[in-house]
């Protein structure tokens, strides 16, 4: 069995926090530029130009793309043939602590949702683990801003609501969010599982490239139709009107109960950040 020290993760997480916050993924950049090319509305074109200028400045200066450097969502895919020696949670949090402090990132976490005192170092991270075959460890850091997180919703639909019910709910969530989550947005949709599983799937869907459609043609078609419907709403960049309301819709599904049809919609802003490394 392969063995690694938990503390080896700290340096990796530190670096991924800083890089993810300062450098937008290539697929998101390219999609924004492509949407700029297809946008017919003048004010929307102007805003997309500023958004492009902004991520170019962030790249050049190693500066955060957005001041909301988010809560650090850390996804760990742990090979079942790998033994991690030491305190994994503490190693991840130490990486976040170092990344956010030494990387000049904003500390946006309060220790208690009601008493609201800032932890001062952006810990704790939101850690999601998954066991997979093999002996590798895949680490993804996704800083998640709350302008868009706050616009996310979940609903337990009835099986009879079917695919039309799902489509209507996703569009309703985007419509209600309007300008608040900094459109153009990326929409993560989780369908099935349980109440909590659907929300997890929606978040996980946001980790997929905006260019990569679901491998199942049925869900790939659903993603494309949802994107067309959302971009027909006319909300546009920043909500001032235009074609470009969403950059992509990514759907993930999971088996569910005979009585249920859970649907979760997790919205991300145009600063859809995530960076992955394999140990």
């Amino acid at each position: 069995m392969r063995e690694i020290q938990a503390k080896e993760l700290t340096a990796v997480i530190r670096r991924l926090c800083i890089e993810a916050n300062c450098h937008l993924p290539g697929d998101v950049k390219e999609r924004i530029c492509a949407c700029r090319g297809e946008e017919p509305w003048d004010q929307a074109k102007e805003i997309l130009d500023r958004i492009i200028e902004n991520f170019e400045i962030a790249d050049r200066r190693d500066q955060p793309i957005c001041q909301d450097t988010g809560v650090a969502c850390v996804f760990l895919k742990i090979g079942q043939e790998l033994h991690i020696e030491g305190d994994l949670t503490e190693a991840v949090n130490e990486g976040v602590r170092q990344g956010y402090t030494e990387g000049y990132l904003r500390k946006s976490v309060v220790a208690d949702p009601l008493r609201r005192v800032n932890t001062g170092d952006n810990t704790p991270a939101m850690i999601y683990t998954e066991l997979v075959p093999g002996d590798k460890l895949e680490i993804t850091v996704a800083p998640k801003g709350f302008g868009s997180e706050n616009m996310s919703q979940i609903k337990m639909l009835r099986p009879s609501d079917g695919i039309e019910g799902v489509k209507d709910f996703v569009c309703k969530v985007v419509e209600e969010a309007g300008p608040n989550p900094c459109p153009p947005i990326v929409v993560g949709v989780g369908i099935g599982g349980t109440f909590d599983k659907a929300a997890y799937l929606a978040k996980k869907a946001l980790m997929r490239s905006v260019d990569e459609r679901h491998p199942d043609p049925f869900y790939a078609e659903l993603e494309e139709e949802l994107l067309r419907r959302i971009n027909a709403l006319g909300i546009g960049p920043q909500g001032f009107g235009g074609k470009t309301t969403a950059l992509a819709v990514n759907v993930e599904y999971f088996p569910t109960h005979i009585a249920g049809l859970p649907v979760a919609v997790n919205i991300n802003c145009h600063v859809t950040r995530h960076k992955t490394e394999v140990l």
């Binding site: 017919p40 509305w41 957005c66 001041q67 000049y104 608040n180 546009g236 920043q238 001032f240 009107g241």
Partner: protein, 184 residues
């Protein structure tokens, strides 16, 4: 063509602005977001003096990233404004004439803006690196314990904003989207 404006902003000037106007702001503005608004409004409720003069002031809803050496401020784009809806009418009544943020506002805020003469500006959300170019100086006024949420006095130069809601209640989110949909 953008309108050049100087902050602080008088009620008279605020009332002249129209929804959809592009504005370049120069002068002194203040930052405050959720936690600072709560404290400011508690002071108003207690009849105490505020740590800065809100008369004719513009408040920018922002919590910047820390400045690196040689920078005035880190990335500094707007936060979503509706979270300040419970507080903004109280400060507008105290003389606040402008707010900079992004996203929708509630009817209670729009009513206070109409009654007292204030405007709601939008800056481009998610463009914190770009917008920080227009902030030349930043110093903490109060509530340093709040970290990014402390109240800061900013000196801005040609800071680009657009009037989303004017003092007559006209709303660019409604008119802009309608105009686009009618054009296609």
């Amino acid at each position: 063509m953008a309108i050049q404006l100087t902050a602080p902003l008088s009620t008279e000037e605020a009332r002249k602005l129209r929804s959809g106007d592009s504005v370049l702001l120069t002068g002194t503005i203040y930052t405050a977001r959720d936690a600072a608004h709560k404290r400011l409004c508690e002071l108003v409720a207690e009849g105490k003096e505020l740590p800065f003069d809100v008369k004719d002031a513009i408040i920018y809803f922002v919590g910047p990233t820390p400045a690196k050496e040689g920078q005035a401020i880190g990335s500094a784009g707007p936060t979503t404004s509706y979270r300040m809806d419970a507080y903004s009418p109280i400060l507008i009544k105290e003389g606040l004439t402008g707010m900079i943020g992004k996203g929708k506002r509630g009817p209670e805020v729009v009513a206070a803006m109409q009654e007292h003469g204030a405007v709601y500006f939008g800056a481009i959300g998610g463009c914190g690196a770009l917008l920080s170019n227009c902030i030349k100086k930043a110093e903490i006024v109060c509530y340093e314990d709040l970290g990014a949420e402390a109240v800061r006095r900013l000196e801005v130069e040609d800071f680009p904003v657009v009037v989303i809601i004017d003092s007559e209640g006209n709303n660019l989110y409604e008119s802009g989207r309608k105009a686009y949909l009618e054009s296609i």
